[in-house]
Amino acid sequence: MTTLPPPSAKKLGLVIDLDTCVGCHACVVSCKGWNTENYGAPLSDQNAYSGAASGTFLNRVHSYEVQPPILKDKPAAPAQLIHFPKSCLHCEDAPCVTVCPTGASYKRVEDGIVLVNEKDCIGCGLCAWACPYGARELDEKAGVMKKCTLCVDRIYNENLPEEDRQPACVRTCPSGARHFGDLGDETSDVSILVAERGGFDLMPEQGTKPTNKYLPPRPKDVEPEYDILAPYLEPVAEDGKGFVGWLDKALSALPGGAK
């Protein structure tokens, strides 16, 4: 049934730290790898070895330049480059679920994960139209809608060592910018992180109540720029002595030589 269940107590989701993400795209690659080899239809590529390659991804990293406002009495602060991973936010009021005509899209009662039953999907694309975040992509080869499963086949998988029972993107992130946990539990690590760092929703005005939260970049230092080592460096010799001094004079004496 594509009517939404009442909000679950358990709300599994991600917390993404925009301060520490370095934009390496390792999460993109590990996501594509795990989700191509495991649950559901593989994530296909089209013309992968041409100039016009495209493909299905459940997680993509954008990069934004943010220019702080130029104030009258201060020099302009430098623009910041912020890397921005984006995948399904597993919204509480998921508009993608209610528009589905077949019941293929659903939100799990027990933990709030939004999934697609690929056997029921007719590939009409309306759920992707309803999602403001671009979290759903129709796989061109399989003809069904693909989206982040929060690695539902990892997080409950008792065949995996315990440290691997988290989404592939979280497990692989080398800078610790991605965190996985229960955002419905106020005492969980992720909930504390969100509270302490001022985690926010994307497009709150769309009314989707996303589960995933983003942590803002920390304010940049305003220290004046100076070189710590400069005072200790030998000054560069202005006039040479010995052979170099003679060479300098001799070359300067030639027609057109530098004085």
Binding site: T2, S63, E65, Q67, T102, G134, V144, M145, D201
Partner: protein, 290 residues
């Protein structure tokens, strides 16, 4: 939004087909025998042809029957049910007219209501989308309904009703365009709210996530062709309404009537193309585009 031919053909011809079924259902006109057969054949070719066209863009059309199951929440599911129910009801009503020279009035009215509901549910597929501010407005269902009823009036030969309906439809379309142009900005969704980085400063998309294109960009970001939107709007209004009205005023006999129909259909196709091509999805903001 990508103006896919399948959805343009679907909304245009199904709209006209169900519009014609509406007038046939309320008995304006109520022909019998071969004339009734011709009217119903035209209506069914347009309505069913449009519905079939809409299945062309499905990834798995063979599973289409499953789309009738989620009427509790999904406008697309409701539309499917209304569309098929109306076709079945009107088939029985039409059979009565064609073979038995009998008009089962109650059945006809039921079919007429079904035809309007079908067009309304179609329009709500678009009007429900908060992600496309241009569509999320009362003018979307109002326009779909008036275009369907006025086009149906033309096809059913209700000339005296078609002319004022065309004037209302043209005025409403002009208002919808004028008002719709500002709705994306009025929606409050910006690249700053999309990224949540507005508290630092002005946000600019610096690097896309990939060098090529993707499904989202192909489906939701359509920039080419918007350039000529103003000219196309004028073309759509002239072809869709002005020329048909003049031809109908000159006397809607065979050749002129046919010309009015051809001109009207071309105009509706143009304004449906604009309906999709000019609609901007908020996901484009993540790519620094609209």
């Amino acid at each position: 939004m990508h103006p896919a031919p399948s959805v343009i053909i679907f909304t245009t011809f199904s709209g006209l087909g169900y519009g014609l079924l509406f007038w046939l259902g309320i008995g304006m006109p109520a022909p019998t025998g071969w004339v009734a057969f011709a009217f119903f054949a035209i209506a069914y070719i347009m309505a069913v042809g449009g519905l079939l066209a809409s299945t062309f863009h499905l990834g798995h059309p063979e599973r289409a029957l499953k789309a009738f199951s989620q009427w509790r929440s999904s406008w697309l599911s409701r539309e499917g049910i209304c569309a098929v129910a109306t076709l079945l009801i009107m088939a029985i009503y039409g059979a009565g007219l064609v073979f038995l020279d009998t008009a089962w009035t109650v059945l006809g009215w039921l079919g007429a209501i079904g035809a309007l509901l079908t067009v309304f549910t179609t329009s709500m597929i678009y009007a429900q989308l908060k992600t496309v501010p241009r569509w999320k407005h009362w003018t979307t269902p109002a326009l779909f309904l008036i275009l369907s009823i006025s086009g149906g009036a033309l096809f059913s030969g209700n000339v005296k009703i078609a002319i004022p309906l065309f004037i209302i439809a043209a005025a409403l379309q002009a208002f919808a365009w004028f008002h719709g142009d500002g709705r994306f900005n009025a929606s409050g969704t910006t690249i700053e709210s999309a990224t949540g980085l507005g508290h630092i400063g002005k946000v600019r998309a610096f690097e896309p996530p990939h060098t090529g294109t993707n499904y989202l960009m192909k489906e939701f970001i359509h920039v080419v062709g918007r350039r000529h939107a103003t000219q196309l709007r004028i073309v759509a209004l002239v072809l869709g309404f002005v020329i048909p009205i003049i031809l109908l005023l000159l006397g809607a006999k065979h050749v002129l009537g046919l010309l009015a129909v051809v001109s009207h259909v071309a105009g509706i196709l143009a304004l449906r193309w604009l309906f999709f091509a000019q609609a901007e999805h908020v996901v484009g903001l993540y790519y620094g585009k609209r």
